[in-house]
């Protein structure tokens, strides 16, 4: 450990500005998470242009705080109205809402908060201990090895596709195509631009993410509003005085009794989070599913705090580890990691294994912010969770137009290019159509991120090996090993039908709930 860099990092982090933006990040994050339809990715995408105007630690504080807050915040509306604030909280609905109906909403939200923060902190510590070692190993990864690592990420997408593998693959295919638009990474010649000059630089991450994650949801919700559903108003009445001080809280003994579920969440979340391509939703469902099968006596799924602990520990434990592939290999493993990477690049720091030696103070600052973010999350979650529970009741008539305007401003502000706004609107419409026919968005974004990297590395491997495909693909033992692992993932995904099983957990619980 470079002690000087660590002191520099402390000086960078413990400033009024950094603390302010970290708190703002968590505060906004929990709120955004609590509002159904707004996810961590939406929030980060909308805040990214603002983060560009901050210094490096302020930007990291804002984005990481927002991420941590939003992953926890999703549980609030899942517990209060059986409407997950984000897909990663869907597994929390089963036990959480049942507890709310029994008048134990306060206990449920506190369980979600404490298990989220515990798992988040534990997985952050794992990241801090492990990431520098992985980064050292990462130097062994040349174009060939990186290429296979990205193939592994794409094969893992099968588990994100839910019951319809074909729909997931269609989404991945669209992402692959969008990723090839623009200048060819090797010869710098424009391609797939349909003769449009403004497409020469390719599709930018910010308009893509805002369009796919924010605008598409707002179009969807806007359409629902036009049809005017009455469901929201029914809920409003029933939750008014659910969280009064008089209702039952969570005892320390009850918190401790969840240690096994939290342990499962930490293990699953850390592992799944560190794999590029997967994320909080998969981790939450896996952790929930494992806990349910391992401890049938705890009646998970029937209104047990243990189910909440497993799901919420699982999703929050992915927050820190999702940065590992970014920091160690420069490969963004998720949309959120890519956005944090974009913020780093704008500050003149390219995520790569060398970051640990060239910008050690930034790495340490990031580690410190990861840990501090958990305390902020705990404090803000504890103080405002019950206020936030009301946010889910903000009428769509107010929310949808506000978010739409923010989406337009955000898409323009990132680079000041009006073309980005059109791009964002177009992609928002694409995302909307995909939602309507049940095509998941996550594979699109992940392949969009990975496709250019995959191509660059394949073509570099080919150049280095003078066009010899054998050498380019299987030139090293590490490359062959990773290729074998990719095949293994593919076989397991198909044989065990992982995507279907994950979807099944949700399906069965839905049936039980009725």
């Amino acid at each position: 450990m470079q002690i000087e860099a660590f002191y520099d990092a402390l000086a960078l982090v413990f400033t009024v500005q950094t603390m302010f933006w970290l708190l703002i990040g968590v505060f906004l994050g929990v709120g955004l998470g609590a509002i159904p339809g707004l996810t961590a990715s939406t929030g980060i995408a909308l805040m990214l242009p603002l983060s560009f105007t901050l210094d490096i630690t302020g930007a990291l504080g804002l984005l990481i705080g927002l991420y941590k807050g939003a992953v926890f915040g999703g549980s609030i509306s899942a517990i209060s109205f059986a409407t997950p604030g984000a897909p990663d909280s869907a597994a929390t609905v089963y036990d959480g809402y049942k507890l709310t109906k029994k008048g134990k909403g306060r206990k449920a939200i506190l369980t979600a908060l404490y298990s989220s923060v515990t798992a988040d902190t534990a997985s952050d510590i794992v990241v801090i201990l492990v990431a520098p070692t992985i980064a050292l190993l990462a130097l062994q990864f040349g174009p060939t090895e990186r290429l296979w690592l990205m193939v592994v990420a794409i094969t893992l997408l099968g588990t994100l596709s839910g019951r319809h593998l074909a729909k997931g693959m269609l989404s991945a295919g669209i992402g692959l195509f969008l990723g090839t638009i623009g200048a060819d990474p090797v010869s710098n010649v424009a391609r797939n631009t349909f003769g449009q000059d403004w497409l020469r630089d390719g599709i930018h991450l910010v308009p893509l993410v805002i369009g796919i994650f924010a605008m598409s949801q707002m179009l969807d919700q806007g359409l629902e509003l036009l049809r005017k559903t009455r469901k929201g108003q029914q809920v409003e009445k029933s939750t008014k005085d659910l969280f009064g001080k008089s209702s039952e809280g969570l005892t320390f003994r009850e918190y401790l009794s969840c240690w096994r579920e939290m342990g499962i969440g930490i293990g699953v979340g850390t592992f799944v989070g560190a794999l590029p391509g997967l994320g909080a939703t998969v981790a939450a469902f896996m952790s929930y599913g494992i806990a349910k099968q391992a401890f049938p006596e705890k009646k998970i799924g029937e209104g047990s705090i243990h189910g909440i602990a497993a799901a919420e520990a699982g999703n929050n434990a992915t927050v820190g580890p999702t940065l590992v592939p970014l920091l160690a290999f420069g490969i963004p493993g998720s949309a959120t990691a890519a956005l944090i990477g974009a913020a780093l690049i704008l500050q003149g720091i390219t995520p790569s294994p060398r970051m640990f030696s060239l910008h050690a103070e930034v790495i340490y600052a990031l580690f410190i912010i990861l840990i501090l973010g958990n305390f902020a999350n705990l404090g803000i979650g504890r103080m405002f969770a019950f206020v936030y529970a009301r946010l889910g009741q903000v009428p769509g008539e107010v929310l949808v137009p506000i978010i739409m305007v923010m989406a337009v401003i955000g898409a323009f502000a990132a680079r000041g290019d009006p073309a980005d706004v059109y791009m964002m609107l177009g992609l928002g419409f694409l995302g909307f159509l995909m939602r309507r026919v049940g095509i998941p968005e996550a594979p699109l974004v992940i392949t969009f991120l990975i496709a250019p990297l995959l191509e660059e590395n394949l073509r570099r491997a080919l150049l280095i090996n003078r066009g010899d495909w054998g050498g380019a693909l299987f030139g090293s033992a590490l490359g062959i090993g990773l290729a074998g692992f990719a095949v293994l993932v593919l076989v397991i995904t198909f044989r065990m039908n992982v995507g279907n099983r994950l979807a099944q957990i949700g399906h069965e619980e839905d049936k039980n709930g009725k």
Binding site: A138, S187, N188, V189, D197, D201, R354, G416, I464, R466
Partner: protein
């Protein structure tokens, strides 16, 4: 209106316009000079332009400098924007080799790299070849190795052009492996996946001497003395009898701008770029000013475009 009066009106209008331009040149500049960069807000070029605008504004005769970002189309959008503005000296274009490389790679490019009047360089970075000392102790052994076996050189497109330019003049060939950013190419160099990294002098300082040596500075412009020494005084392209290639942060104007306006701007730009206070600010930001005046910059620019035109074929 008769044909004759139409012509008369046209002539009168033209005279009025001509006089207007002359008058404008006399009291140039007043108001705001738009400083156009073809990159988005937040990047390195943006940061340096904004620093220049705030540090050097007092040298521009009371006019204010307003940085405008016009990103897109491989940095060509900003250039097109400048050509679409009136040629009155109130729109300045500050770019790097990026748009030139885009234009030269394009089959039917919308504009030509010559569609600009160069008024000075603010900085010029070099492509330095970094190698492992045990493999290639000096330039001669490197050239000998190039003749014997395929050698891989990694870097961004611009920096590879600098490398290809000298290696071609030495009568040798290499395998050029393009990277999106210098960080990625250095990672692969340190991991032993490529033989040579073509990097800027500031990146070279992070590799030399622990992980490699600076084999050659392929630039046409000398490095600052302290940088050169820290890199172990690598030979320059010109020392070995080659024509080098530098990568400038250049400043130019619409080619139709009246000459006296351009001359006035070049004077003010020189005063700003040679001001010790401005230089100290750039030094502190780790991007020292390497100033070239109008004549020197224009000559280097012309040679650079010619060299790049040839070298770009070598990369493909």
């Amino acid at each position: 209106m008769s044909f004759r009066t139409t012509i008369a009106a046209g002539v009168a209008a033209a005279m009025a316009l001509g006089m207007g331009t002359a008058a404008a040149a006399n009291d140039y500049p007043t108001g705001t000079i738009n400083w156009v960069i073809p990159f988005g807000a937040g990047g390195g070029s943006d940061r340096l332009s904004r620093m220049f605008a705030s540090e050097a504004e007092r040298h521009f005769g009371g006019a204010s400098l307003n940085v405008e970002n016009h990103p897109g189309a491989g940095a060509v959008t900003g250039w097109q924007h400048v050509l679409n503005q009136p040629a009155d000296g109130y729109t300045v274009f500050n770019a790097t080799p990026t748009p030139i490389i885009t234009l030269l790679s394009e089959e039917d490019a919308p504009i030509d790299p010559g569609d600009i009047e160069i008024l000075g360089y603010l900085a010029a970075f070099a492509s330095v070849l970094v190698v492992r000392e045990d493999e290639f102790p000096d330039w001669d052994s490197f050239v000998a190795a190039l003749q014997e076996r395929p050698i891989t050189i990694g870097g961004t497109n611009a920096l590879l052009l600098g490398a290809a330019n000298v290696i071609d003049q030495a009568g040798a060939e290499a395998i050029y492996v393009p990277y999106g950013s210098t960080g990625e190419s250095v990672t692969d160099f340190l991991g032993g996946h490529i033989d040579v990294a073509a990097v800027t002098e500031s990146t070279a300082l992070t590799i030399v001497p622990e992980n490699g040596i600076a084999l050659m500075n392929t630039s046409s412009i000398a490095l600052p003395d302290d940088v050169n020494e820290a890199l172990g005084n690598p030979p320059m392209a010109t020392d070995l009898g080659f024509s080098g290639l530098a990568f400038p942060r250049w400043v130019g104007m619409h080619p139709d701008t009246p000459e006296d306006v351009m001359a006035r701007f070049a004077e003010m730009f020189e005063a700003a770029a040679t001001d010790p206070e401005v230089q100290a600010a750039f030094e502190a930001a780790g991007e020292p000013i390497i100033f070239l005046d109008r004549a020197a910059a224009a000559a280097d620019y012309e040679a650079m475009v010619r060299t790049m035109r040839n070298a770009i074929g070598l990369l493909q």
